[in-house]
């Protein structure tokens, strides 16, 4: 299995798209910190960009990579290998290489310019977000046999999590503004990994006052050890559930 993972990682590292993604991300991060003299503002700007680009790049690149590996998967399945192992190796390979390129591109400027605690949480959140969206990409490509449908589905899922979900939350907020829904909002937030990541970082930045009363509730919840543990668990579930479903689909798939 380790051989397979190594093979996938090497294959992706050689891919020019990954290089492009890393360069783009590092240009953004360096220029943001170069232009902003306030580290907190810089982190906020980078956070907003990261929350858009990282999921998009992870989900699209992974979906395309899986479809392009169809031949490789075919070849491996006829060899004495468990199907599970092939799928897990692909996932691990993609996760490792995407996280690595994120760490190299955004991690170095973060460590240099931002306070250590925030830099580390940004790096963890960036890697976790990459892995979550790779898992979602695996689900999308296990569900559809057709490449263009699969990529379409991935883009839709990204759109939903990055833009539509926020709209829905705002809509709910306004509709139920009269009711005490602050606690329910925490539950709703967990339905989107992007929103959870945003809140986790914002709370570390002490700008949660900007979030108003809801912010106080959030920091009450996420600030505690239990809240952190629960949110870590939920983020893990966001990786495990889509990937596990895709694995059981792939196990029964006809090639």
């Amino acid at each position: 299995m380790i051989r397979l993972i190594r093979f996938v990682v090497l294959d992706i590292v050689k891919n020019k798209t990954t290089l492009g993604y890393a360069i783009l991300l590092s240009v953004f991060s360096w220029s943001i910190f170069g232009l902003e003299d306030n580290a907190t503002k810089g982190v906020l700007t980078l956070l907003n960009i990261m929350l858009l680009i990282v999921p998009l790049a992870s989900i699209i690149f992974s979906t395309i990579y899986i479809y392009n590996s169809a031949e490789f998967i075919d070849l491996m399945v006829s060899q004495p290998l468990k199907r599970k192992k092939i799928w897990i190796s692909l996932f691990a390979g993609l996760s490792i290489s995407q996280s690595l390129s994120f760490l190299l591109a955004a991690g170095i400027p973060l460590l240099l310019f931002a306070p250590l605690k925030i830099a580390i949480s940004m790096m963890v959140v960036g890697c976790v977000l990459s892995i979550i969206f790779i898992a979602i990409a695996f689900l999308a490509s296990a569900l559809t046999r057709d490449k263009s449908k699969g990529i379409g589905l991935s883009i839709l899922l990204w759109l939903y999590f990055a833009l539509l979900f926020d709209g829905l939350v705002l809509f709910l907020l306004f509709q139920f503004a009269e009711y005490p829904i602050e606690n329910a909002m925490i539950g709703v937030t967990m339905l989107s990994p992007i929103d959870m990541s945003r809140i986790l970082i914002l709370l570390q930045l002490d700008v949660s006052a900007l979030l108003g009363y809801t912010g106080a509730i959030f920091s009450n919840f996420f600030g505690t050890g239990l809240g952190m543990a629960i949110s870590a668990l939920v983020l893990c579930l966001w990786v495990i559930v889509p990937f596990y479903i895709s694995l059981s689909i792939f196990n029964k798939k006809d090639l």
Partner: protein, 236 residues
């Protein structure tokens, strides 16, 4: 060695395999023939676990292949159309499969030398012609001295010289007592190779006979003639 028990497979509404049962023993060389779309490749792919049958079971050395994978180490498979990662070189592919199989005995590199693939090792897969790809597939199938060889249209796309090399190799392996399963449309080629014929039609097995018996029954000297006679007489 391989026992296929009542397997059925449906793709959407199309029934590709309909309650198929076959027994294959060591030392046999079986030709799987039939019109296009009769389920030959699906049958082969279900033996390899690439297609999961809806019902029925396949036993390899008396063990069900469901959720098994190690048995595939005993099979050499040559696909009808070899599909390989496009950016890899021939050498890398062979090296990778050697790595994955972790096979420690003597490799059978006869075809590798016969097809002079070593000189093409640095060529990328997407630059290869169909015939060269077939040569790579054949080499990989025979490389690990497998007990079972499954060859899906092995000579399609090969030039006469290469296909002669492959045929001789098949005969040689047959004499070593391996089980060989071939699908082909070129009946004339099968004469010197096979000992048994399985004729499939519409996902069912029409007959499974020894070639000698078949020729005797129809009173014809070659397999090709025997089959055409049977088809004409509609004796199936």
């Amino acid at each position: 060695m391989i026992a296929i028990q009542n397997i059925s497979k449906q793709f959407g509404r199309l029934k590709v395999l309909d309650n198929v049962s076959v027994n294959c023993q060591k030392g046999e060389c079986i030709a799987l023939i039939g019109p296009n779309g009769c389920g030959k490749t699906t049958l082969i792919k279900s033996i390899l676990g690439m297609v999961v049958a809806d019902s029925g079971d396949i036993l390899f050395d008396n063990v069900s292949i469901k959720n098994e994978f190690e048995y595939r180490g005993k099979i050499g498979y040559m696909p009808q159309i070899g599909r390989y990662p496009e950016n890899m070189r021939i050498g890398q592919i062979i090296e990778m499969i050697k790595n994955i199989r972790s096979y420690h005995n003597q490799l059978d590199e006869e075809l590798l030398h016969a097809y002079q693939l070593e000189s093409l090792f640095s060529k990328k897969m997407h630059t290869l012609s169909g015939g060269t790809t077939q040569k790579v597939s054949a080499t990989i199938a025979f490389l690990f001295n497998p007990q079972v060889l499954i060859l899906d249209e092995p000579t399609a796309g090969l030039d006469p010289l290469a296909s002669e090399v492959l045929k001789e190799k098949i005969i040689k392996e047959k004499e070593k007592g391996k089980l060989i399963i071939i699908t082909s449309h070129l009946l004339s080629e099968l004469d010197e190779l096979v000992t048994q014929i399985i004729f499939m039609q519409d996902g069912k097995i029409r007959f499974h006979k020894n070639t000698a018996v078949l020729k005797e029954e129809t009173g014809t000297p070659t397999i090709a003639k025997a089959i055409t006679q049977l088809l004409k007489a509609n004796a199936l």
